[in-house]
Symmetry: C2
Subunit: 320 residues, 2 copies
């Protein structure tokens, strides 16, 4: 009997969620384990493998699993390894060949890539990019990630690490510091933290200006606050999203110049603010894109919704 299901593993810094997925992209069963409480990658691989085998056995699916796909921080698809993931104690500063370890424990093929690439696979297999051969996935979360598909294949570069579009330089002189140690990266502006920072700058630079956001004084401002203020028609909050959308749109013009994608797909927490981001983003593209590409690239929202999206994305890897 041929294998009819795959396992998708969404590895976060604190929690690892995994599920058994069918060919239509339905998560039939799922479970999770902590990510961090281990002294070595081997130990984590054993606990995860045991948990996956347990879920498979419990549901009478032994022999029906085709492969395992993992979306992981700093995942290198060439190597099937997690490379220097600073937020995971057992992977900080070292290379952990997790895919191989999981295969040894489960006897199942295992593929691993980073979260954004997994999301791109998910969109291609189950979502809005079905049938597309050239598109870019942009994940707008705490950071900005990306998965680039060209000629129907993920662009992962000679080292397996390509597609870091959150670290394209958008402000070349006196740009904001970025978590990567450089300045002026897209991520420093267009991530959730970037949006919160833009809001703080707008408030500081315009001390006399009214905004609902001034009521938040006992804790740091978040992008969610800015979104909620925008929902209440707060003008400053709306301007923050205008600014963010404009930077995204200008940068997307450079992405289009590079790979001329059929679509750029927005994914992740901040894409929920699409009501405020999409108009300025589209306008910035229309105003700045090279004529040869005008009107050719669509801006779409991910169809992989909610908490299960990352499991689905990772599971899509396993069908290849």
């Amino acid at each position: 009997m041929s294998a009819l299901y795959v396992v998708g593993v969404d590895m976060g810094a604190t929690n690892t969620a995994f599920g058994i997925v069918d060919a239509r992209g339905t998560i039939l069963f799922q479970d999770n384990i902590p990510t961090g409480n281990y002294s070595t990658g081997e130990e984590y691989a054993k606990v995860l493998s045991t948990a996956i085998k347990g879920l498979v056995t419990k549901n009478n699916l032994n022999g029906e699993i085709k492969a395992i796909g993992i979306g992981a921080p700093n995942g290198n698809m060439h190597a099937g390894a997690i490379e220097n993931a600073v937020n995971i104690s057992w992977a900080n500063g070292i290379v952990v060949p997790l895919a191989k370890m999981i295969t040894e424990e489960t006897d199942l093929p295992c593929r691993l890539t980073n979260d954004a690439n997994a999301a791109a696979f998910g969109e291609m297999v189950y979502g809005v990019a079905k049938g597309m051969k050239d598109f870019i996935m942009i994940t707008l979360g705490t950071g900005v990630g990306s998965g680039i598909v060209a000629n129907g294949s993920l662009v992962i570069g000679h080292d397996g690490m390509a597609g870091e579009l959150g670290h394209m330089i958008v402000v070349r002189r006196n740009g904001r510091p970025c978590g990567c140690g450089r300045n002026g990266c897209l991520e420093a502006y267009a991530s959730a933290t970037g949006v919160a920072r833009t809001a703080r700058e707008y408030l500081e630079l315009n001390p006399g200006r009214y905004s609902l956001l001034r009521e938040i004084v006992h804790r740091p401002l978040t992008s969610k606050d800015v979104f909620e203020a925008a929902e209440k028609r707060d003008e400053l909050a709306i301007e923050v999203f205008n600014f963010t959308g404009k930077i995204l749109g200008e940068t997307f013009c450079d992405f289009i110049t590079f790979s001329s994608p059929q679509a750029i797909i927005l994914f992740g927490g901040l894409s929920h603010a699409s009501d405020y981001l999409l108009d300025p983003l589209q306008k910035a593209i229309d105003d700045n894109v090279m004529k040869a590409f005008a009107g050719k690239t669509r801006i779409l929202l991910s169809q992989l919704k909610g908490a299960e999206a990352a499991i689905l994305g990772a599971s899509a890897l396993a069908w290849e």
Copy 2:
């Protein structure tokens, strides 16, 4: 008997050179026709086909030609067409499906792409990129062109027109006007014309400063003048190349972030100034590249030298 040769066609705005090439990349026979003296694309296709067939017959190679490859301005590989090439009267403002026309006239398969993509193919088949699956070709001539190879395939995008890296924005506010109608493109700085413009700016901004370039007063300054002055150790000319190399290096960091290529290969007239460009270019990469990619991408010079390089590049298309 299987076909042992291909034909490469280098189509310029005024002259079209073509040659019969063997599998080692030796041009055995070549000829040329004017590009512009026709009222329609059909007429050009007929004259070119007749000339190719004539060269083949004259050298007793009938039945031994596998295919024809064409490198053309604004060549679209998907469509096998020249799209709105403003410098060619019979292709200005329209789409000319040249590959199909040539096949009809010669009964040989024909592939067509733009000049920079053809150069990338040439480098992959005969040159310094042999065996590489991920690299970027940058052509530094009157303009700046590019051919991007990822996963062993050319990145041409959903419309066949991708890889316009000369039109990445390098100066986002108050950038120089570019031929594409926008401002601040890489091409406006790092092309031969960009280098000449930088030199003129340096001379104007520093009126008291000595430079050999001040002796050129009866005609416009060219990048060749700047190169020759640099060869005579003219400090201002050397600074112009430092500036150009720095902009190239900073921009290459964004290219690396995108596709993490094993190499970026320089091709075209301006790459002859590599003695002056490469050091500042490499320094700008070392100073600005994202840590995850540090030291991974080599900067190489094309091995397809001289006037025959473009014919070789185009012929490489025909082996696929």
